[in-house]
Protein backbone atom coordinates (compact mmCIF):
# COMPACT_ATOMS: atom_id res chain seq x y z
CA UNK A 1 0.00 0.00 0.00
CA UNK A 2 2.89 2.34 0.81
CA UNK A 3 4.19 2.07 -2.78
CA UNK A 4 0.69 2.66 -4.16
CA UNK A 5 0.28 5.83 -2.08
CA UNK A 6 3.68 7.15 -3.18
CA UNK A 7 2.80 6.45 -6.82
CA UNK A 8 -0.57 8.19 -6.46
CA UNK A 9 1.09 11.27 -4.92
CA UNK A 10 3.67 11.39 -7.69
CA UNK A 11 0.85 11.07 -10.24
CA UNK A 12 -0.94 14.03 -8.61
CA UNK A 13 2.24 16.13 -8.88
CA UNK A 14 2.58 15.22 -12.58
CA UNK A 15 -1.04 15.87 -13.55
CA UNK A 16 -0.93 19.14 -11.59
CA UNK A 17 1.00 20.61 -14.53
CA UNK A 18 -1.97 20.43 -16.89
CA UNK A 19 -0.60 22.22 -19.93
CA UNK A 20 -3.39 20.72 -22.05
CA UNK A 21 -5.98 23.16 -20.62
CA UNK A 22 -3.65 26.10 -20.22
CA UNK A 23 -5.55 28.50 -22.50
CA UNK A 24 -8.99 26.86 -22.33
CA UNK A 25 -11.97 28.11 -20.34
CA UNK A 26 -14.52 25.67 -21.72
CA UNK A 27 -16.13 23.24 -21.17
CA UNK A 28 -17.64 24.77 -18.02
CA UNK A 29 -18.12 22.19 -15.27
CA UNK A 30 -21.62 22.45 -13.67
CA UNK A 31 -22.18 25.28 -16.13
CA UNK A 32 -19.95 27.79 -14.32
CA UNK A 33 -16.52 26.44 -13.31
CA UNK A 34 -13.86 26.88 -16.04
CA UNK A 35 -12.28 23.52 -16.87
CA UNK A 36 -8.79 24.57 -15.71
CA UNK A 37 -10.12 25.48 -12.27
CA UNK A 38 -12.32 22.37 -12.02
CA UNK A 39 -9.26 20.20 -12.77
CA UNK A 40 -7.34 21.71 -9.88
CA UNK A 41 -10.30 21.43 -7.50
CA UNK A 42 -10.38 17.76 -8.44
CA UNK A 43 -6.65 17.52 -7.63
CA UNK A 44 -7.32 19.02 -4.17
CA UNK A 45 -10.10 16.51 -3.51
CA UNK A 46 -7.95 13.66 -4.83
CA UNK A 47 -5.12 14.82 -2.54
CA UNK A 48 -7.52 14.56 0.41
CA UNK A 49 -8.41 11.00 -0.66
CA UNK A 50 -4.78 9.91 -1.15
CA UNK A 51 -3.75 11.39 2.20
CA UNK A 52 -6.68 9.54 3.80
CA UNK A 53 -5.25 6.31 2.35
CA UNK A 54 -1.82 7.29 3.67
CA UNK A 55 -3.08 7.99 7.19
CA UNK A 56 -5.24 4.84 7.18
CA UNK A 57 -2.78 2.31 5.74
CA UNK A 58 0.72 3.83 5.97
CA UNK A 59 0.71 5.40 9.41
CA UNK A 60 4.08 4.74 11.13
CA UNK A 61 3.81 1.88 13.62
CA UNK A 62 6.14 3.58 16.12
CA UNK A 63 3.72 6.52 16.41
CA UNK A 64 0.89 4.14 17.26
CA UNK A 65 3.13 2.49 19.85
CA UNK A 66 3.92 5.89 21.39
CA UNK A 67 0.16 6.62 21.60
CA UNK A 68 -0.34 3.37 23.49
CA UNK A 69 2.38 4.13 26.07
Amino acid sequence: MRAAVVLLLLALCVIHHDMWWWGEAEPLVFGFIPIGLAWHVLISLAAGAVWWLASRFCWPADLDQLDAE
Binding site: H16, F32, G36, L45, A47, G48, D64
Partner: protein, 570 residues
Protein backbone atom coordinates in the same frame (compact mmCIF):
# COMPACT_ATOMS: atom_id res chain seq x y z
CA UNK B 1 -23.52 48.81 12.00
CA UNK B 2 -20.45 47.20 10.38
CA UNK B 3 -18.20 48.43 13.17
CA UNK B 4 -20.72 47.18 15.77
CA UNK B 5 -20.60 43.68 14.26
CA UNK B 6 -16.79 43.70 14.18
CA UNK B 7 -16.68 44.77 17.84
CA UNK B 8 -19.28 42.12 18.70
CA UNK B 9 -17.12 39.46 17.08
CA UNK B 10 -14.05 40.61 19.00
CA UNK B 11 -16.08 40.50 22.25
CA UNK B 12 -17.15 36.92 21.46
CA UNK B 13 -13.55 35.98 20.72
CA UNK B 14 -12.34 37.42 24.02
CA UNK B 15 -15.16 35.63 25.87
CA UNK B 16 -14.17 32.28 24.35
CA UNK B 17 -10.50 32.78 25.16
CA UNK B 18 -11.18 33.97 28.71
CA UNK B 19 -13.39 30.88 29.15
CA UNK B 20 -10.58 28.65 27.87
CA UNK B 21 -8.16 30.34 30.29
CA UNK B 22 -10.23 28.81 33.14
CA UNK B 23 -8.57 25.51 32.17
CA UNK B 24 -5.10 27.07 32.17
CA UNK B 25 -2.64 25.41 34.50
CA UNK B 26 -0.14 27.88 35.89
CA UNK B 27 2.93 26.40 34.24
CA UNK B 28 5.07 27.40 31.28
CA UNK B 29 4.34 23.96 29.74
CA UNK B 30 0.65 24.79 29.63
CA UNK B 31 1.22 28.39 28.55
CA UNK B 32 3.45 27.43 25.59
CA UNK B 33 2.10 23.96 24.68
CA UNK B 34 -1.38 23.58 26.29
CA UNK B 35 0.09 20.61 28.24
CA UNK B 36 0.29 18.64 24.96
CA UNK B 37 -3.42 17.90 25.18
CA UNK B 38 -4.98 19.15 21.91
CA UNK B 39 -7.24 16.62 20.16
CA UNK B 40 -7.80 15.89 16.45
CA UNK B 41 -10.44 18.52 15.60
CA UNK B 42 -8.81 21.41 17.44
CA UNK B 43 -5.46 20.44 15.93
CA UNK B 44 -6.94 20.60 12.43
CA UNK B 45 -8.56 23.97 13.10
CA UNK B 46 -5.40 25.37 14.72
CA UNK B 47 -3.13 24.21 11.91
CA UNK B 48 -5.48 25.21 9.09
CA UNK B 49 -6.20 28.60 10.72
CA UNK B 50 -2.49 29.22 11.21
CA UNK B 51 -1.48 28.33 7.63
CA UNK B 52 -4.32 30.35 6.07
CA UNK B 53 -3.61 34.04 6.50
CA UNK B 54 -5.47 36.99 5.00
CA UNK B 55 -4.11 35.63 1.69
CA UNK B 56 -6.75 32.91 1.77
CA UNK B 57 -9.64 35.38 1.45
CA UNK B 58 -8.35 38.80 0.42
CA UNK B 59 -5.18 37.73 -1.42
CA UNK B 60 -6.72 34.88 -3.41
CA UNK B 61 -9.61 37.06 -4.61
CA UNK B 62 -7.28 39.91 -5.56
CA UNK B 63 -4.74 37.70 -7.32
CA UNK B 64 -7.37 35.84 -9.37
CA UNK B 65 -8.82 39.25 -10.34
CA UNK B 66 -5.44 40.11 -11.92
CA UNK B 67 -4.01 36.67 -12.78
CA UNK B 68 -7.04 34.45 -13.41
CA UNK B 69 -7.87 30.92 -12.29
CA UNK B 70 -4.21 29.81 -12.33
CA UNK B 71 -3.87 31.28 -8.83
CA UNK B 72 -5.78 28.26 -7.47
CA UNK B 73 -3.27 25.87 -9.03
CA UNK B 74 -0.34 27.95 -7.82
CA UNK B 75 -1.35 28.25 -4.22
CA UNK B 76 -4.24 25.98 -3.32
CA UNK B 77 -3.81 22.67 -5.13
CA UNK B 78 -0.02 22.63 -4.61
CA UNK B 79 -0.67 23.33 -0.92
CA UNK B 80 -3.24 20.51 -0.79
CA UNK B 81 -0.52 18.04 -1.79
CA UNK B 82 2.56 19.55 -0.11
CA UNK B 83 1.14 20.82 3.22
CA UNK B 84 -0.26 17.41 4.07
CA UNK B 85 3.06 15.83 3.11
CA UNK B 86 4.74 18.15 5.64
CA UNK B 87 2.23 17.21 8.36
CA UNK B 88 2.67 13.50 7.63
CA UNK B 89 6.44 13.41 7.17
CA UNK B 90 7.55 16.21 9.50
CA UNK B 91 4.71 17.19 11.87
CA UNK B 92 3.88 13.77 13.27
CA UNK B 93 7.60 12.86 13.58
CA UNK B 94 8.35 16.13 15.38
CA UNK B 95 5.48 15.47 17.77
CA UNK B 96 6.94 12.04 18.62
CA UNK B 97 10.42 13.46 19.19
CA UNK B 98 8.96 16.34 21.22
CA UNK B 99 7.07 13.94 23.44
CA UNK B 100 10.12 11.72 23.97
CA UNK B 101 12.63 14.49 24.63
CA UNK B 102 10.40 17.28 25.98
CA UNK B 103 10.91 19.94 23.30
CA UNK B 104 9.02 23.22 23.63
CA UNK B 105 10.33 25.01 20.53
CA UNK B 106 11.68 24.31 17.07
CA UNK B 107 15.10 25.69 17.98
CA UNK B 108 15.20 23.44 21.06
CA UNK B 109 14.74 20.47 18.73
CA UNK B 110 17.48 21.64 16.36
CA UNK B 111 19.91 22.31 19.25
CA UNK B 112 19.45 18.77 20.52
CA UNK B 113 19.40 17.03 17.14
CA UNK B 114 22.57 18.73 15.87
CA UNK B 115 24.08 19.23 19.36
CA UNK B 116 24.97 22.81 18.42
CA UNK B 117 24.43 26.16 20.09
CA UNK B 118 26.03 27.82 17.06
CA UNK B 119 23.23 26.58 14.80
CA UNK B 120 20.61 28.00 17.17
CA UNK B 121 22.39 31.34 17.35
CA UNK B 122 22.45 31.45 13.53
CA UNK B 123 18.82 30.39 13.18
CA UNK B 124 17.32 32.61 15.90
CA UNK B 125 17.74 35.99 14.14
CA UNK B 126 16.73 34.46 10.80
CA UNK B 127 13.56 32.94 12.24
CA UNK B 128 12.64 36.05 14.22
CA UNK B 129 13.08 38.22 11.09
CA UNK B 130 10.92 35.94 8.95
CA UNK B 131 8.20 35.71 11.63
CA UNK B 132 8.31 39.48 12.11
CA UNK B 133 7.63 40.01 8.39
CA UNK B 134 4.81 37.48 8.62
CA UNK B 135 3.34 39.40 11.58
CA UNK B 136 3.76 42.67 9.69
CA UNK B 137 1.59 41.29 6.86
CA UNK B 138 -1.19 40.58 9.35
CA UNK B 139 -0.82 43.93 11.11
CA UNK B 140 -0.93 45.93 7.86
CA UNK B 141 -3.74 43.75 6.49
CA UNK B 142 -5.91 44.23 9.57
CA UNK B 143 -5.49 48.03 9.47
CA UNK B 144 -6.45 48.15 5.80
CA UNK B 145 -9.42 45.80 6.16
CA UNK B 146 -10.92 47.72 9.09
CA UNK B 147 -10.41 51.03 7.28
CA UNK B 148 -12.05 49.66 4.12
CA UNK B 149 -15.02 48.20 6.00
CA UNK B 150 -15.99 51.15 8.16
CA UNK B 151 -16.73 54.21 5.98
CA UNK B 152 -19.05 56.82 7.55
CA UNK B 153 -18.37 55.48 11.05
CA UNK B 154 -17.51 59.07 11.91
CA UNK B 155 -19.69 61.83 10.45
CA UNK B 156 -16.83 64.40 10.32
CA UNK B 157 -19.50 67.13 10.11
CA UNK B 158 -16.87 69.89 9.99
CA UNK B 159 -15.27 68.60 6.80
CA UNK B 160 -16.24 70.36 3.57
CA UNK B 161 -15.28 69.00 0.15
CA UNK B 162 -15.80 71.06 -2.97
CA UNK B 163 -15.45 70.13 -6.64
CA UNK B 164 -16.01 72.23 -9.73
CA UNK B 165 -18.76 70.82 -11.99
CA UNK B 166 -17.78 70.97 -15.65
CA UNK B 167 -21.22 70.11 -17.02
CA UNK B 168 -24.28 69.95 -14.77
CA UNK B 169 -26.93 67.42 -15.95
CA UNK B 170 -30.04 69.18 -17.29
CA UNK B 171 -32.40 67.51 -14.79
CA UNK B 172 -30.02 67.73 -11.82
CA UNK B 173 -31.82 67.84 -8.44
CA UNK B 174 -30.69 67.28 -4.85
CA UNK B 175 -33.20 65.03 -3.01
CA UNK B 176 -34.49 66.09 0.44
CA UNK B 177 -32.43 63.52 2.34
CA UNK B 178 -29.21 65.07 0.94
CA UNK B 179 -30.10 68.79 1.30
CA UNK B 180 -28.25 69.23 4.61
CA UNK B 181 -25.09 67.54 3.23
CA UNK B 182 -24.87 68.58 -0.40
CA UNK B 183 -25.20 72.01 -2.02
CA UNK B 184 -24.60 73.46 -5.47
CA UNK B 185 -23.50 77.04 -6.08
CA UNK B 186 -24.50 77.97 -9.65
CA UNK B 187 -22.35 81.14 -9.62
CA UNK B 188 -19.08 79.29 -8.99
CA UNK B 189 -20.32 75.97 -10.46
CA UNK B 190 -19.19 74.31 -7.24
CA UNK B 191 -20.66 71.21 -5.63
CA UNK B 192 -19.95 71.07 -1.90
CA UNK B 193 -20.29 68.04 0.36
CA UNK B 194 -20.38 68.34 4.15
CA UNK B 195 -19.02 65.44 6.22
CA UNK B 196 -17.76 61.97 5.30
CA UNK B 197 -19.08 59.69 2.57
CA UNK B 198 -19.19 55.94 1.90
CA UNK B 199 -18.02 55.12 -1.66
CA UNK B 200 -21.13 52.95 -1.93
CA UNK B 201 -23.19 56.19 -2.15
CA UNK B 202 -21.83 56.74 -5.65
CA UNK B 203 -25.09 55.29 -7.03
CA UNK B 204 -27.26 57.78 -5.08
CA UNK B 205 -25.21 60.67 -6.49
CA UNK B 206 -25.50 59.29 -10.04
CA UNK B 207 -29.30 59.27 -9.68
CA UNK B 208 -29.29 63.05 -9.00
CA UNK B 209 -28.63 63.46 -12.75
CA UNK B 210 -32.35 62.79 -13.21
CA UNK B 211 -31.65 60.21 -15.94
CA UNK B 212 -28.74 58.11 -17.20
CA UNK B 213 -25.61 59.83 -15.79
CA UNK B 214 -23.35 61.45 -18.38
CA UNK B 215 -19.61 60.77 -18.44
CA UNK B 216 -18.93 64.29 -17.12
CA UNK B 217 -21.29 63.75 -14.16
CA UNK B 218 -19.72 60.35 -13.39
CA UNK B 219 -16.30 62.05 -13.32
CA UNK B 220 -17.57 64.78 -10.99
CA UNK B 221 -19.02 62.20 -8.59
CA UNK B 222 -15.77 60.19 -8.77
CA UNK B 223 -13.73 63.29 -7.87
CA UNK B 224 -16.04 64.13 -4.97
CA UNK B 225 -15.83 60.63 -3.49
CA UNK B 226 -12.09 60.52 -3.91
CA UNK B 227 -11.54 63.92 -2.24
CA UNK B 228 -14.06 63.63 0.61
CA UNK B 229 -13.11 62.00 3.92
CA UNK B 230 -14.42 58.46 4.32
CA UNK B 231 -14.96 58.78 8.05
CA UNK B 232 -13.55 55.29 8.52
CA UNK B 233 -11.70 53.93 11.54
CA UNK B 234 -8.15 55.19 10.83
CA UNK B 235 -5.63 52.64 9.54
CA UNK B 236 -3.32 53.04 12.55
CA UNK B 237 -6.19 52.65 15.04
CA UNK B 238 -7.47 49.49 13.33
CA UNK B 239 -3.97 48.05 13.24
CA UNK B 240 -3.33 48.86 16.91
CA UNK B 241 -6.72 47.53 17.99
CA UNK B 242 -6.21 44.12 16.38
CA UNK B 243 -2.68 43.85 17.85
CA UNK B 244 -4.11 44.64 21.28
CA UNK B 245 -6.91 42.06 21.02
CA UNK B 246 -4.52 39.29 19.96
CA UNK B 247 -1.98 40.29 22.62
CA UNK B 248 -4.71 40.16 25.26
CA UNK B 249 -5.83 36.63 24.64
CA UNK B 250 -2.34 35.29 23.95
CA UNK B 251 -1.03 36.86 27.18
CA UNK B 252 -3.82 35.64 29.38
CA UNK B 253 -4.53 32.27 27.87
CA UNK B 254 -1.30 31.18 26.14
CA UNK B 255 -1.42 28.24 23.74
CA UNK B 256 -4.69 26.91 25.16
CA UNK B 257 -6.52 30.17 24.38
CA UNK B 258 -4.77 30.34 21.01
CA UNK B 259 -6.02 26.86 20.09
CA UNK B 260 -9.59 27.71 21.18
CA UNK B 261 -9.46 31.06 19.38
CA UNK B 262 -8.12 29.42 16.22
CA UNK B 263 -10.91 26.87 16.26
CA UNK B 264 -13.53 29.62 16.48
CA UNK B 265 -11.78 31.86 13.95
CA UNK B 266 -11.23 29.10 11.39
CA UNK B 267 -14.90 28.12 11.50
CA UNK B 268 -15.87 31.80 11.19
CA UNK B 269 -13.69 32.52 8.15
CA UNK B 270 -14.71 29.35 6.30
CA UNK B 271 -18.43 29.97 6.92
CA UNK B 272 -18.23 33.69 6.10
CA UNK B 273 -16.30 33.00 2.90
CA UNK B 274 -19.05 30.63 1.75
CA UNK B 275 -21.80 33.11 2.73
CA UNK B 276 -20.07 35.94 0.84
CA UNK B 277 -19.87 33.67 -2.21
CA UNK B 278 -23.56 32.72 -2.06
CA UNK B 279 -24.74 36.33 -1.65
CA UNK B 280 -22.51 37.69 -4.42
CA UNK B 281 -23.47 34.80 -6.73
CA UNK B 282 -27.16 35.47 -6.18
CA UNK B 283 -26.77 39.23 -6.83
CA UNK B 284 -24.86 38.50 -10.04
CA UNK B 285 -27.83 36.49 -11.33
CA UNK B 286 -26.37 33.07 -10.56
CA UNK B 287 -22.98 31.42 -11.04
CA UNK B 288 -23.57 30.42 -14.67
CA UNK B 289 -24.66 33.95 -15.59
CA UNK B 290 -21.58 35.47 -13.87
CA UNK B 291 -19.20 33.16 -15.75
CA UNK B 292 -20.92 33.82 -19.08
CA UNK B 293 -20.62 37.57 -18.43
CA UNK B 294 -16.88 37.12 -17.85
CA UNK B 295 -16.45 35.02 -21.02
CA UNK B 296 -18.25 37.70 -23.02
CA UNK B 297 -16.04 40.49 -21.66
CA UNK B 298 -12.55 41.66 -22.69
CA UNK B 299 -11.28 39.99 -19.47
CA UNK B 300 -12.26 36.46 -20.63
CA UNK B 301 -8.61 35.38 -20.21
CA UNK B 302 -9.19 35.35 -16.45
CA UNK B 303 -11.07 32.05 -16.90
CA UNK B 304 -7.83 30.51 -18.24
CA UNK B 305 -4.11 30.64 -17.52
CA UNK B 306 -3.32 31.86 -21.03
CA UNK B 307 -2.66 35.36 -22.30
CA UNK B 308 0.67 35.62 -20.48
CA UNK B 309 -0.95 35.73 -17.02
CA UNK B 310 1.31 32.95 -15.71
CA UNK B 311 4.56 31.38 -16.88
CA UNK B 312 4.57 27.59 -17.10
CA UNK B 313 7.85 27.33 -15.18
CA UNK B 314 6.49 29.66 -12.52
CA UNK B 315 3.45 27.37 -12.18
CA UNK B 316 5.69 24.32 -11.81
CA UNK B 317 8.25 25.80 -9.41
CA UNK B 318 5.61 27.28 -7.10
CA UNK B 319 5.51 23.76 -5.60
CA UNK B 320 8.47 24.71 -3.37
CA UNK B 321 6.62 27.57 -1.64
CA UNK B 322 4.24 25.37 0.42
CA UNK B 323 7.28 23.58 1.90
CA UNK B 324 7.50 26.68 4.11
CA UNK B 325 4.95 25.10 6.49
CA UNK B 326 7.60 22.53 7.38
CA UNK B 327 9.72 25.30 8.88
CA UNK B 328 7.16 27.74 10.34
CA UNK B 329 8.23 27.89 14.00
CA UNK B 330 4.68 28.76 15.07
CA UNK B 331 3.28 25.71 13.29
CA UNK B 332 6.03 23.58 14.80
CA UNK B 333 4.75 24.62 18.22
CA UNK B 334 1.20 23.63 17.27
CA UNK B 335 2.46 20.18 16.28
CA UNK B 336 3.94 19.75 19.76
CA UNK B 337 0.53 20.45 21.36
CA UNK B 338 -1.09 17.29 19.93
CA UNK B 339 -2.43 14.82 22.45
CA UNK B 340 -1.52 11.76 20.35
CA UNK B 341 0.30 10.97 17.14
CA UNK B 342 -2.98 9.74 15.68
CA UNK B 343 -4.44 13.25 16.26
CA UNK B 344 -2.57 14.23 13.07
CA UNK B 345 -4.53 11.83 10.86
CA UNK B 346 -7.56 14.13 10.53
CA UNK B 347 -5.33 17.12 9.71
CA UNK B 348 -3.40 15.15 7.07
CA UNK B 349 -6.46 14.23 4.99
CA UNK B 350 -8.94 17.04 5.84
CA UNK B 351 -6.53 19.95 5.25
CA UNK B 352 -6.76 19.67 1.40
CA UNK B 353 -10.57 19.67 1.63
CA UNK B 354 -10.59 22.77 3.89
CA UNK B 355 -8.31 24.49 1.36
CA UNK B 356 -10.76 23.74 -1.48
CA UNK B 357 -13.80 24.96 0.50
CA UNK B 358 -12.05 28.23 1.37
CA UNK B 359 -10.30 28.99 -1.92
CA UNK B 360 -12.76 28.01 -4.67
CA UNK B 361 -15.40 30.67 -3.78
CA UNK B 362 -12.73 33.38 -3.51
CA UNK B 363 -11.17 32.50 -6.88
CA UNK B 364 -14.57 32.55 -8.59
CA UNK B 365 -15.50 35.91 -7.04
CA UNK B 366 -12.10 37.26 -8.14
CA UNK B 367 -12.50 36.26 -11.82
CA UNK B 368 -16.14 37.43 -11.91
CA UNK B 369 -15.00 40.78 -10.48
CA UNK B 370 -12.70 41.19 -13.51
CA UNK B 371 -15.81 41.63 -15.66
CA UNK B 372 -17.39 44.06 -13.16
CA UNK B 373 -14.63 46.35 -11.86
CA UNK B 374 -12.08 48.57 -13.64
CA UNK B 375 -8.74 46.86 -14.26
CA UNK B 376 -7.05 49.58 -12.19
CA UNK B 377 -8.87 48.50 -8.99
CA UNK B 378 -6.50 47.87 -6.07
CA UNK B 379 -6.26 44.06 -5.90
CA UNK B 380 -6.38 44.04 -2.09
CA UNK B 381 -9.75 45.82 -2.23
CA UNK B 382 -11.48 43.49 -4.72
CA UNK B 383 -13.21 41.28 -2.15
CA UNK B 384 -14.22 44.27 -0.02
CA UNK B 385 -15.66 46.10 -3.04
CA UNK B 386 -17.58 43.04 -4.27
CA UNK B 387 -19.00 42.49 -0.78
CA UNK B 388 -19.91 46.17 -0.34
CA UNK B 389 -21.42 46.32 -3.82
CA UNK B 390 -23.55 43.21 -3.53
CA UNK B 391 -24.49 43.03 0.15
CA UNK B 392 -25.73 45.13 3.03
CA UNK B 393 -23.96 46.53 6.09
CA UNK B 394 -24.79 43.52 8.28
CA UNK B 395 -23.25 41.13 5.80
CA UNK B 396 -20.26 43.43 5.30
CA UNK B 397 -19.70 43.32 9.05
CA UNK B 398 -19.98 39.53 9.20
CA UNK B 399 -17.68 39.00 6.24
CA UNK B 400 -15.27 41.58 7.69
CA UNK B 401 -15.25 39.53 10.90
CA UNK B 402 -14.35 36.49 8.78
CA UNK B 403 -11.43 38.33 7.16
CA UNK B 404 -10.15 39.55 10.54
CA UNK B 405 -10.54 36.01 11.90
CA UNK B 406 -8.24 34.72 9.14
CA UNK B 407 -5.66 37.37 10.01
CA UNK B 408 -5.83 36.94 13.78
CA UNK B 409 -5.72 33.13 13.65
CA UNK B 410 -2.18 33.37 12.25
CA UNK B 411 -1.01 36.33 14.32
CA UNK B 412 -1.77 34.70 17.67
CA UNK B 413 0.41 31.65 16.99
CA UNK B 414 3.21 33.88 15.74
CA UNK B 415 3.09 36.06 18.87
CA UNK B 416 3.20 33.04 21.15
CA UNK B 417 5.98 31.40 19.18
CA UNK B 418 8.21 34.49 19.31
CA UNK B 419 7.86 34.65 23.09
CA UNK B 420 8.56 30.98 23.41
CA UNK B 421 11.67 31.06 21.16
CA UNK B 422 13.18 34.00 23.04
CA UNK B 423 12.42 32.65 26.51
CA UNK B 424 13.34 29.02 26.03
CA UNK B 425 16.15 29.25 23.50
CA UNK B 426 17.89 32.44 24.53
CA UNK B 427 17.03 33.55 28.08
CA UNK B 428 16.88 30.15 29.77
CA UNK B 429 19.90 28.90 27.81
CA UNK B 430 22.18 31.89 28.18
CA UNK B 431 20.62 33.78 31.11
CA UNK B 432 23.08 32.34 33.64
CA UNK B 433 26.02 33.83 31.75
CA UNK B 434 24.45 37.25 32.27
CA UNK B 435 23.70 36.73 35.96
CA UNK B 436 20.00 35.87 35.61
CA UNK B 437 20.32 32.60 37.56
CA UNK B 438 17.62 29.95 37.23
CA UNK B 439 14.52 31.30 35.52
CA UNK B 440 11.29 30.34 37.31
CA UNK B 441 8.21 29.17 35.42
CA UNK B 442 6.43 32.43 36.14
CA UNK B 443 9.41 34.48 34.95
CA UNK B 444 9.57 32.47 31.71
CA UNK B 445 6.00 33.46 30.91
CA UNK B 446 6.63 37.11 31.83
CA UNK B 447 9.83 37.33 29.74
CA UNK B 448 8.03 35.71 26.81
CA UNK B 449 5.27 38.34 27.04
CA UNK B 450 7.76 41.22 27.24
CA UNK B 451 9.60 40.05 24.10
CA UNK B 452 6.34 39.65 22.19
CA UNK B 453 5.31 43.15 23.23
CA UNK B 454 8.54 44.61 21.86
CA UNK B 455 8.25 42.68 18.57
CA UNK B 456 4.60 43.70 18.09
CA UNK B 457 5.55 47.30 18.76
CA UNK B 458 8.28 47.04 16.10
CA UNK B 459 5.76 45.56 13.61
CA UNK B 460 3.25 48.29 14.49
CA UNK B 461 5.82 51.08 13.96
CA UNK B 462 6.89 49.62 10.59
CA UNK B 463 3.19 49.24 9.74
CA UNK B 464 2.66 52.97 10.40
CA UNK B 465 4.93 53.68 7.43
CA UNK B 466 2.35 51.78 5.32
CA UNK B 467 4.81 49.49 3.54
CA UNK B 468 3.43 48.65 0.11
CA UNK B 469 3.26 45.25 -1.51
CA UNK B 470 1.93 42.98 1.21
CA UNK B 471 1.71 40.15 -1.32
CA UNK B 472 5.36 40.22 -2.50
CA UNK B 473 6.41 40.60 1.13
CA UNK B 474 4.47 37.44 1.97
CA UNK B 475 5.84 35.41 -0.92
CA UNK B 476 9.40 36.44 -0.01
CA UNK B 477 8.84 35.51 3.62
CA UNK B 478 7.59 32.04 2.53
CA UNK B 479 10.60 31.74 0.22
CA UNK B 480 12.87 32.12 3.25
CA UNK B 481 11.04 29.51 5.32
CA UNK B 482 10.75 27.06 2.39
CA UNK B 483 14.48 27.34 1.65
CA UNK B 484 15.25 26.20 5.21
CA UNK B 485 13.09 23.08 4.74
CA UNK B 486 16.02 20.79 3.77
CA UNK B 487 17.40 21.28 7.31
CA UNK B 488 14.33 19.90 9.08
CA UNK B 489 13.98 17.09 6.55
CA UNK B 490 17.63 16.09 6.98
CA UNK B 491 17.33 16.37 10.77
CA UNK B 492 14.57 13.75 10.76
CA UNK B 493 15.52 11.45 7.89
CA UNK B 494 19.27 11.70 7.30
CA UNK B 495 21.42 10.00 9.94
CA UNK B 496 24.58 11.52 8.50
CA UNK B 497 23.29 15.13 8.73
CA UNK B 498 25.53 17.21 11.00
CA UNK B 499 25.73 20.69 12.49
CA UNK B 500 28.27 21.99 9.97
CA UNK B 501 25.95 21.17 7.06
CA UNK B 502 22.94 22.72 8.82
CA UNK B 503 24.84 25.93 9.62
CA UNK B 504 26.08 26.15 6.00
CA UNK B 505 22.49 25.84 4.78
CA UNK B 506 21.23 28.59 7.14
CA UNK B 507 24.01 30.98 6.07
CA UNK B 508 23.33 30.24 2.38
CA UNK B 509 19.61 30.97 2.78
CA UNK B 510 20.21 34.18 4.77
CA UNK B 511 22.77 35.46 2.22
CA UNK B 512 20.66 34.73 -0.88
CA UNK B 513 17.47 35.97 0.78
CA UNK B 514 19.07 39.32 1.54
CA UNK B 515 20.76 39.48 -1.88
CA UNK B 516 17.45 39.16 -3.76
CA UNK B 517 15.38 41.13 -1.20
CA UNK B 518 15.29 44.42 -3.11
CA UNK B 519 14.10 42.80 -6.35
CA UNK B 520 11.62 40.59 -4.53
CA UNK B 521 9.82 43.49 -2.83
CA UNK B 522 9.35 45.36 -6.11
CA UNK B 523 6.60 42.99 -7.24
CA UNK B 524 6.49 39.74 -9.19
CA UNK B 525 10.08 38.50 -9.23
CA UNK B 526 11.10 35.51 -11.33
CA UNK B 527 14.54 34.14 -12.22
CA UNK B 528 14.57 32.62 -15.71
CA UNK B 529 10.77 32.31 -15.48
CA UNK B 530 11.08 30.31 -12.23
CA UNK B 531 10.14 31.21 -8.67
CA UNK B 532 13.36 32.38 -6.93
CA UNK B 533 12.73 29.82 -4.19
CA UNK B 534 13.94 27.21 -6.70
CA UNK B 535 17.41 28.78 -6.70
CA UNK B 536 17.54 29.43 -2.95
CA UNK B 537 16.31 25.98 -1.91
CA UNK B 538 18.65 24.37 -4.46
CA UNK B 539 21.60 26.28 -3.03
CA UNK B 540 20.70 25.49 0.58
CA UNK B 541 20.31 21.77 -0.23
CA UNK B 542 23.67 21.76 -1.99
CA UNK B 543 25.36 23.54 0.92
CA UNK B 544 23.77 21.13 3.41
CA UNK B 545 24.81 17.99 1.52
CA UNK B 546 28.30 19.06 0.44
CA UNK B 547 29.38 20.52 3.79
CA UNK B 548 27.93 17.54 5.66
CA UNK B 549 29.84 15.07 3.50
CA UNK B 550 33.18 16.87 3.79
CA UNK B 551 32.96 17.25 7.58
CA UNK B 552 32.99 14.54 10.29
CA UNK B 553 29.78 12.56 10.88
CA UNK B 554 27.73 13.24 14.03
CA UNK B 555 28.70 11.28 17.17
CA UNK B 556 27.37 7.71 17.39
CA UNK B 557 25.32 8.33 20.56
CA UNK B 558 23.59 11.28 18.89
CA UNK B 559 22.64 9.18 15.88
CA UNK B 560 21.34 6.39 18.15
CA UNK B 561 19.23 8.89 20.09
CA UNK B 562 17.38 10.10 16.99
CA UNK B 563 17.44 6.98 14.82
CA UNK B 564 16.62 4.04 17.09
CA UNK B 565 15.53 0.79 15.50
CA UNK B 566 11.95 1.24 14.24
CA UNK B 567 9.19 -0.98 15.68
CA UNK B 568 8.17 -2.18 12.21
CA UNK B 569 11.77 -3.22 11.49
CA UNK B 570 12.09 -5.54 14.49
Amino acid sequence: MTLGILLGYVALLLFVTVFSARFLKRSSGDYFLASRGIGSFMLLMSIFGTTMTAFALVGSTGRSFSKGIGVYGLMASWSAIIHSACFFLIGARVWALGKKHGYVTQLGFFRDRFRSDGLVLCLFPVMVSFVLIYILMGVVGSGRVIEALTPETFAEADAKTAVVVQELPAKFAIPGSWKDRLSYDAATKTLTLTGSIHPKRRGELFKMAGGPPTLAWKQTVGQLIQKAPRGAVPYAVGMGFICLVVLLYVFFGGMRATAWANTLQTIVFIVMGVIAFLVITSKLGGAAEATQKLLGSPMADRATRGGGQLHKLQFLTYCFIPLSVGMFPHLFQHWLTAKKGSSFKLTVWAHPLCIAVTWVPCILVGIWAAAELPATTNVNSVLGIMVAKHSNEVLSGLIGAGILAAIMSSMDSQFLCLGSLFTNDIVVRYGKRFGLGDVSDRSKVMIGRAFVLVMVLVAFLIGLAEPGGVFPMGVWCFTGFASLFPIVFAAIYWRRANKQGAIAAVITVAALWLYFLKDALKGEFLIGGMMPVTIVIGASTLALVVVTLVTPPPPRDLVDKFFPKRVDQT
